[in-house]
């Protein structure tokens, strides 16, 4: 395919989630503009309320980048034929996703229960992993697809006994009297990964776009994790942006394993564990028909890792973990 004219203006979409709040904060405080100016480009950071819609918009070309989890990156853009590069691995969920029940005390108690969750999302994956660990399968429970926006209200309803969800909804649900947390993502560390992914072609044609994004991210990280007033102010702002306050935000942050420095993120990206995780994820995705009807088996879509490793079809690589931009950041040569 012919190389396109280098672009000047880019846009990325974000949705409200603790691991992605640095993006709007960076846009508000001028960090985005600072780095964009440095590379002579313009970057628009746009909020979308509906998470799935933001990824759909990215997939159909409405955005050059989007904040999404590893699993959704595989099942929506990659399965939709849009070659996507995971540019920044920001964090993984370390308690931000969980299963909460009013009736069951252990995962084994869930047999025969109906469970409310956003079907085909990371919650679904989390449940599958939890059931797996307890020797149950999805057939043993009834899954009721429930919109994330209504999850908290749904849990208040007397007919709802168990939900699988993420923060901040998770915290709200856990606060309900009589509810118990059965399982959370601390038990599958590193499997639910929050990333910024961009269109591979756009990145190839415009490496400056990637560099600017990496620059923005790690500068914002340093502000966010600042132990003093500066960090507190940043976290307050992010909390308010997501509809809560400093305390609420800090709770969510505590359940998030942030890769504060590029070095940590690079190490995670290059580790063998990531390949294992992605194999679990693609197996789950294939089993649930998420790789599309055209996919004959779970190898249909190739996933590339740093160092040329490919999981699945090497001819059809659509999802790429790329540590190079984070590496440049680690080297301080942005």
């Amino acid at each position: 395919q012919a190389y396109a004219e280098p672009k000047k203006e880019f846009s990325i979409a974000w949705t409200i989630y603790v691991g992605w709040m640095p993006w709007p904060y960076a846009a508000d405080t001028g960090i985005v503009k600072k780095w964009a100016d440095k590379y002579g480009i313009i970057i628009n950071v746009k909020q979308i309320n509906d998470y799935v819609e933001s990824i759909n918009q990215y997939t159909t070309g409405g955005f050059d980048g989007v904040t999404a989890t590893n699993m959704d990156g595989l099942t929506i853009p990659a399965a939709g034929g849009v070659d996507t590069t995971i540019l920044i691995i920001g964090d993984f969920s370390n308690g931000n996703d969980g299963i909460v029940s009013k009736a069951a005390k252990t995962i084994a108690d869930l047999r025969g229960q109906s469970i409310n969750l956003v079907e085909l999302s990371v919650s679904h994956y989390l449940l599958a992993r939890a059931l797996d660990g307890a020797g149950l399968s999805e057939k043993d429970v009834t899954i009721v697809n429930t919109s994330d926006a209504d999850m908290v209200a749904a849990f208040k309803s007397p007919d709802t006994s168990t939900v699988v969800t993420w923060n901040p909804l998770l915290a709200e649900v856990k606060a309900e009297p009589g509810s118990a947390a059965l399982f959370d993502s601390t038990q599958i560390p590193g499997e639910i990964i929050d990333t910024l992914m961009v269109n591979t072609e756009v990145l190839k044609d415009n490496p400056d776009f990637g560099k600017a994004l990496a620059g923005i991210w790690y500068e914002t990280m340093s502000v966010l994790t600042d132990p003093g007033e500066k960090g507190k102010a940043a976290r307050t702002a992010m909390g308010e942006l997501s509809g809560t306050d400093l305390a609420g935000f800090d709770v969510q942050l505590a359940a998030t394993k942030l890769f504060v420095t590029p070095q940590e993120a690079v190490a995670f990206t290059e580790s063998e564990d990531l390949v294992k995780t992605m194999d679990l994820v693609r197996t789950f995705s294939f089993d649930h028909g998420l790789l599309g009807e055209g996919a004959a088996d779970k190898d249909a879509i190739g996933i590339a890792f740093p160092g040329g490793r490919v999981l699945g079809s090497a001819e059809n690589v659509k999802l790429r973990f790329d540590a190079s931009y984070m590496k440049i950041a680690a080297e301080g040569s942005l």
Binding site: T59, V82, L120, N145, D150, A154, T160, G292
Partner: protein
């Protein structure tokens, strides 16, 4: 040269004219879809018609791996059941309240402003309260449909009943009718054709509320499927489902129109000059 207003197409031309815009849209779709495919062979937004046909075939004839049902039909059955219960309940509420408000000045004085206010509340915004009150099961979906369309039905029927000529109401009283008899034999039958017309107008909104309800919490249904597969942008499922919903709504509309004309022929005669 005749005025445009005086040009009446013949029946052949008419059929052509009806088909033309549909064919144009279909043609446009095929072209744009092909273009997008050329740019990205994996494009999901506007799948070619063959692909949609294949998806429909699969959904309509192959049992689902998890439940063993034929997806399209079980979704349709689930949705239609909710829709009909919702429409039926709303129609019953519309009739009872519409007749009461239209007929009794005292009821109208007390309740009309309340219903006017209620009809303005966007139901989607108070979902949490509905969940607590009606749970998250089938009931809440039906309730959302009812809440969505009943205020309109009530107001429309109350207006229709209030528009029954005063002369008839007086006449019935001189024939000895009690309020109840008047309601039963004079107001109710005259409200029926209007109820069907109002239901026809409500079909679109009813489907809308149903789909929204199914998007919020469900295990099956047309809206459920659409929002589920939206997670991986499976437009090859969404578009046929939308077409199917549209077709269903169109068929019900047509059926209701026929039922009304069959059952209430007196309501469809031009007033004699």
């Amino acid at each position: 040269m005749r005025r445009a207003i005086n040009i009446v197409p013949g029946s052949g031309t008419r059929i052509l004219l009806v088909l033309l815009p549909f064919l144009l849209i279909a043609g446009l779709y095929v072209v744009v879809s092909a273009e997008r495919r050329a740019a990205n062979p994996g494009d999901k937004l506007l799948p070619p018609i063959t692909e949609m046909a294949e998806s429909v075939r699969r959904l309509a004839t192959e049992p689902d791996r998890r439940s063993g049902n034929l997806t399209l039909w079980s979704d349709t059955a689930a949705s239609l059941q909710r829709l009909f219960i919702g429409l039926g309940t709303a129609a019953a509420i519309g009739l009872v309240l519409g007749l009461t408000l239209g007929l009794l000045p005292i009821a109208s004085a007390g309740l009309s402003p309340l219903i006017a206010v209620l009809s303005m509340i966007p139901p989607m915004a108070i979902l949490p309260i509905l969940f607590i009150a009606f749970g998250l099961g089938e009931l809440s979906k039906v309730v959302l449909v009812v809440i969505g369309i009943a205020p309109f039905l009530v107001r429309d029927l109350a207006m229709a009943v209030a528009a029954i000529p005063r002369e008839q109401i007086i006449k019935a009283q001189t024939l000895g009718a009690s309020t109840w008899q008047l309601l039963l034999r004079v107001a109710l039958p005259q409200a029926m054709p209007r109820l069907i017309e109002a239901l026809r107008l409500s079909l679109g909104p009813a489907f809308l509320f149903l789909i929204s309800a199914e998007a919020i919490a469900a295990e099956s249904g047309l809206g459920y499927r659409i929002f589920l597969v939206r997670r991986y942008l499976a437009m090859d499922v969404i578009l046929p489902y939308v077409a199917w919903i549209t077709l269903l709504a169109y068929i019900f509309d047509w059926l209701l129109a026929r039922v009304a004309r069959r059952s209430f022929p007196w309501a469809y005669v031009q007033e004699a000059r």
